[in-house]
C-alpha cells in the first residue's frame, strides 16, 4: 500500500510512443506532460500512485484498435481505465506505457424495451443505465456502492456486485454481449443476443479479468422489471454472533432477501450522526433485510422475515413504513465508507468473502486483531453472501500506522482463505492484493492463469503486474511470510 512511486519516465521511449499515437489521436486526446497526466496517477485506491508515461483518450473503436496495434508493435504496456473508482489499484497506470482512458465512450447506443436490453459504451455510468430505462419500468440490477460514478466497462472488468446480488446476481449474471479488442487489435464479439453463445464461455472469462485479456468497447446488459415495491426490516441484536446466526436462519427458512446487510456498533455509531437513520446505537449489530416484488408478495415475505428475526433473538425489529423510511435505513449503510473517512483521517477497505458459518469466528478474530494492531475496525458487510468489508481506520501521517494497517489487512485476507473463502469478493485483486494471491493459489494454478492470459496476450502487455502474481513474486513473498512450512511455495526454488 505504501507504494507512491516517484518513477522516472524514459523520455526517448515516451517520444517514440507519442509519435506513434499522434498518427491515431488528435493532440488533445494524447497527454504526456506531467500536469496533464497527474490526474490519472491513481484510481479509487489512492495509496498507490504512479504517473503514466502517456494517457490516450480515444473516442472511437477504430482509434482503440489502432492504439492497440501500435502498442503491440512497439511492445508497450496498456492499462485500461474507466471512471477510476476501482478499489484495488487495477487502473494504476504504467510508467512505461499507455493509460487507455475509455471515459469518452459515454453513449447509450440502444435500448430495446421489448427484449429488455441496453447496448452501452463502456464509459456509461452504472446508475445512468437505470435512470435511462426507468420510464420503461426497467432497471439494471447490479448496484455497486459507487454506482453514481463507476462505469459499466469497469463493472465488467471487475465483475462488480452490490447490495442486491444475493437475489439478482453479479455483473456476470446480468450481461449478454461484449465487443472486445485483443492487444493485436482483433475484434472479439463475445456472447450474443440469446442467453448463451457458441464455444467457450468467454463472457464469463472476460468478466472480472481486470483488463488483462482484452479492451471492452461495448457492453450489452439485461434489464429487469422494476419491482413494484420494496420494504426493509431493521433488526437489532445484542450479540454479533446472534446476528450472524439470524442471517443463516433467514436463508435456511427458504428466503432469498433482495438485500441482507450487517453493520456492527462502531459502524452504526459512525454513520448515525452523519445520516440520522435512527439506528439503535446500543445494539452490538444491526441487520438490514429487504424484500422486493409485488405488494402481496412483499407483505408475505416481510412477515416471514420478521418471524425469523424474532426467533433469532432480535432485541428490536422495525419495518419500514414508507419509502422515505426505507431509504433512511439504507442511507446509513450506503454512507459507511464516507463515515469512516469522517471519523478517521484514512481507512482501508477489505473485501474478503467467507462461508456464512465462519462469520462469528471471523468477527471475533477481527476484534482480536484490532486490539493486537491498536487500530479500530468498522465491520460492514453484505451478510447474505458472506462478503465482508472491514474498514480499518488509520492515520497515514502517524509513522508506522500504514504498515500496521497493511499487516492487519493481510491477516484478515489470510483468515478469509483459511476459513474457506476468498481474498476478494467484488473489488478485484489489482495491485493491492497481489501478494495475497500467493496464499490463495498454488504454483500450478498461477501457472495456468499466466498461460490463460498468454492465450489472449502473448507478450503480457495488457495491465501487466496486476491481478496475477508472478511465481517469482510469490517466492519472494513466501520468504517474507513463512508460516511453519505451510506456505504454498515450499517446493519452489528460491532466488
Amino acid at each position: 500500500m505504501s507504494n507512491v512511486a516517484e518513477t522516472t519516465i524514459d523520455r526517448a521511449r515516451q517520444h517514440e510512443v507519442v509519435a506513434a499515437l499522434s498518427a491515431i489521436l488528435p493532440a488533445h486526446a494524447l497527454l504526456h506532460e506531467r500536469e496533464d497526466v497527474q490526474p490519472y496517477e491513481c484510481d479509487g485506491l489512492s495509496a498507490y500512485r504512479r504517473l503514466p508515461m502517456v494517457v490516450a483518450q480515444p473516442d472511437s473503436e477504430d482509434q482503440v484498435r489502432d492504439i492497440l496495434r501500435a502498442c503491440h508493435r512497439l511492445r508497450v504496456p496498456v492499462v485500461a481505465r474507466g471512471a477510476g473508482t476501482g478499489l484495488s489499484g487495477g487502473a494504476l497506470p504504467p510508467s512505461d506505457g499507455v493509460l487507455l482512458s475509455l471515459a469518452r465512450f459515454m453513449r447509450i447506443l440502444d435500448i430495446d424495451p421489448v427484449a429488455r436490453t441496453a447496448r452501452l459504451q463502456p464509459g456509461v455510468r452504472n446508475l445512468a443505465i437505470s435512470e435511462a430505462v426507468a420510464p420503461l419500468g426497467l432497471y439494471y440490477a447490479p448496484d455497486p456502492s459507487s454506482q453514481i460514478a463507476c462505469s459499466i466497462g469497469g463493472n465488467v472488468a471487475e465483475n462488480a456486485g452490490g447490495m442486491h446480488c444475493l437475489k439478482y446476481g453479479l455483473t456476470v449474471h446480468n450481461i449478454l454481449k461484449l465487443r472486445a479488442w485483443t492487444i493485436e487489435g482483433e475484434l472479439l464479439e463475445i456472447g450474443g443476443d440469446g442467453l448463451d453463445a457458441a464455444g467457450y464461455d468467454l463472457l464469463a472469462l472476460l468478466t472480472g479479468s481486470e483488463g488483462l485479456l482484452a479492451i471492452i468497447t461495448e457492453v450489452t446488459v439485461k434489464l429487469l422489471p422494476r419491482p413494484q415495491r420494496a420494504q426493509c426490516i431493521l433488526a437489532a441484536f445484542d450479540d454479533i454472533v446472534k446476528a450472524g446466526q439470524a442471517v443463516a436462519n433467514v436463508i435456511a427458512a427458504g428466503i432469498i432477501p433482495a438485500g441482507l446487510e450487517m453493520m456492527d456498533r462502531i459502524t452504526t455509531g459512525a454513520v448515525e450522526p452523519f445520516v440520522k437513520a435512527g439506528y439503535p446505537l446500543d445494539a452490538a449489530a444491526i441487520l438490514l433485510c429487504e424484500s422486493d416484488g409485488i405488494e402481496v408478495e412483499v407483505a408475505e415475505e416481510i412477515a416471514h422475515m420478521t418471524a425469523v428475526m424474532q426467533q433469532s433473538g432480535a432485541t428490536e425489529i422495525r419495518v419500514s413504513r414508507d419509502e422515505a423510511e426505507r431509504l433512511r435505513f439504507w442511507a446509513g449503510r450506503k454512507s459507511a465508507f464516507p463515515a469512516a473517512g469522517r471519523i478517521s483521517p484514512d481507512y482501508y477497505c477489505m473485501d474478503g468473502t467467507i462461508p456464512k458459518k465462519a462469520l462469528a469466528r471471523m468477527l471475533n478474530e477481527i476484534t482480536a486483531l484490532s486490539a493486537k494492531y491498536g487500530l479500530r475496525c468498522m465491520n460492514v458487510f453484505h451478510a447474505g453472501d458472506g462478503n465482508l468489508h472491514p474498514l480499518i481506520l488509520y492515520d497515514a501521517n502517524k509513522p508506522g500506522e500504514l504498515e500496521r494497517t497493511e499487516a492487519f489487512g493481510a491477516e484478515i485476507l489470510k483468515l478469509s482463505i483459511d476459513v474457506g473463502g476468498t481474498i476478494t469478493g467484488e473489488h478485484g485483486v489489482g495491485v493491492e492484493k497481489i501478494d495475497s494471491m500467493c496464499l490463495q493459489f498454488g504454483t500450478a494454478e498461477l501457472a495456468l492463469f499466466h498461460a490463460l492470459k498468454a492465450a489472449f496476450d502473448e507478450h503480457a502487455l495488457l495491465n501487466p503486474g496486476k491481478a496475477v502474481p508472478t511465481l517469482h513474486r510469490c517466492a519472494e513473498y513466501g520468504r517474507m511470510h513463512v508460516h511453519a512450512g505451510q506456505e504454498k511455495f515450499a517446493d519452489l526454488p528460491r532466488y
Binding site: 449474471h173 464461455d201 422489471p225 402481496v296 456464512k356 453472501d385 495456468l448
Partner: protein, 375 residues
Amino acid sequence: MDGQSHFQRAVLIPHKPVETTLNTIIESLADRIKSAQAHGAPLRIRGGGSKDFYGGLLQGEILDVGGYRGIVDYEPSELVLTARAGTPLAEIESALKERGQMLAFEPPHFGSTTTFGGCIAAGLSGPRRAYAGSARDFVLGVRLLDGKGDDLRFGGQVMKNVAGFDVSRLLTGSLGTLGVLLKISVKVLPLPVAETTLRFEHTAADAIALLNEWGGKPLPLSASAWRGGELSVRLSGARAAVDAAVTQLGGERLDEAGATAFWQDIREHRDAFFSTAAPLWRLSIKSTTAPLNLPGNQLIEWGGSLRWLATNADAATVREAARFGGGHATLFRGGDKSAGVFHPLPAAMLAVHRNLKRSFDPAGIFNRGRLYGAF
C-alpha cells in the same frame, strides 16, 4: 455456540468412501492423463455416458470419472453444495429436495446415468434458465485435472469471488475439452413455495410477443414453452405472488401432477415434439426474433430466447437463421455431424479458443473434436 437452530444440524454425506480410495482414483486418472499426454493419445472423458449423443463424434479411449463420486459438503444455510464429478445428478437433486432446495438451472438428465460432472461439462440448462440463470451462473468453484495431469482448484464455495480468472465458469459447457472435472461447487436455491402452470391458445408470433411483454413485468415467471398453438407458462414463488399472477394472466390452470409431468417432459426431451425423425436443432437467439421461417416443427422456450427446430433444412440455412436472430445454432441431436455440430467461430475467436485449449491441454488429448474439429 448454544441455541444453535435446527437449520444447521447436519452436513449431509450420503457417500463417504474411504479417503485413500478417492485419492487412488485421482492418482490413476492423473497417471492415465500423463501417459496419454506423452503419447498424444486422445482420451474421451465419461461420467454416465448419458450425453454421448451431444457434440462432435467421440474419439479416444474412455476415461471413466464415474467412480469419483459422493456429495462432499452441503449446508442448506450456505446455499452451496459441493460434490464429486461422478456423483449421479439424481442423487444430488434428491439430497437438495430433502432440504427444500434445488438446482435452479433445472439441468436435463437425458437418462438415468447422468453425473454431476457431465451436467456441468455440458453446461445445459432446462426450462427455468431464462428466469433463474444457467448452469454456469450457479457454478462457484471446480477442482480439475488439466492436460498435464496437474490437480488444480479454482473458485470456491462462496458466491462472490473475483480472485483470479473465472476458470470455473469457463469450464462449464466446455464439454471436457479443457480438463477433467473432479469436484464442483454450485449455488443452490430454495424450492419455490408455490408453483402453478397456465395454458393458453396462441400462434407462435403471439406467444413470442406475449412472453416478451410479460418478461418486462414483475411477474414470477419460471418457465415457458410453446408448441403446436399451445403456450404454457409456469409461475413460481411466494404463494401471494403466484396467485396474483394467475388472476392477472388468466388462461387454463393445469393440475399439479400434469404440470410437473409436462415440464419434466420438456426438460428431458420426452415431449411428443422431440420424437422426430428429423435432425433436432437448438437455436439460441434474441427473444423477440419472429418465428423461424423454416420448414419443420418448432418449440419455443426461455421467453422466446430458445428455439428447438426439428427440420431437414440444410445446416447453412439454419445457421443463417440463428445469425439473423443474433445468436447461434447447434445440431443438437441426429443429422449429419460432419459439417460441425456447433456454430462456426470467426477467425479471431477460433484463434483464442485454440490458444485456450492449448493452455489447459497442451497435447490436445481431451475430448478431441467434441466441440470443434480444429481441436
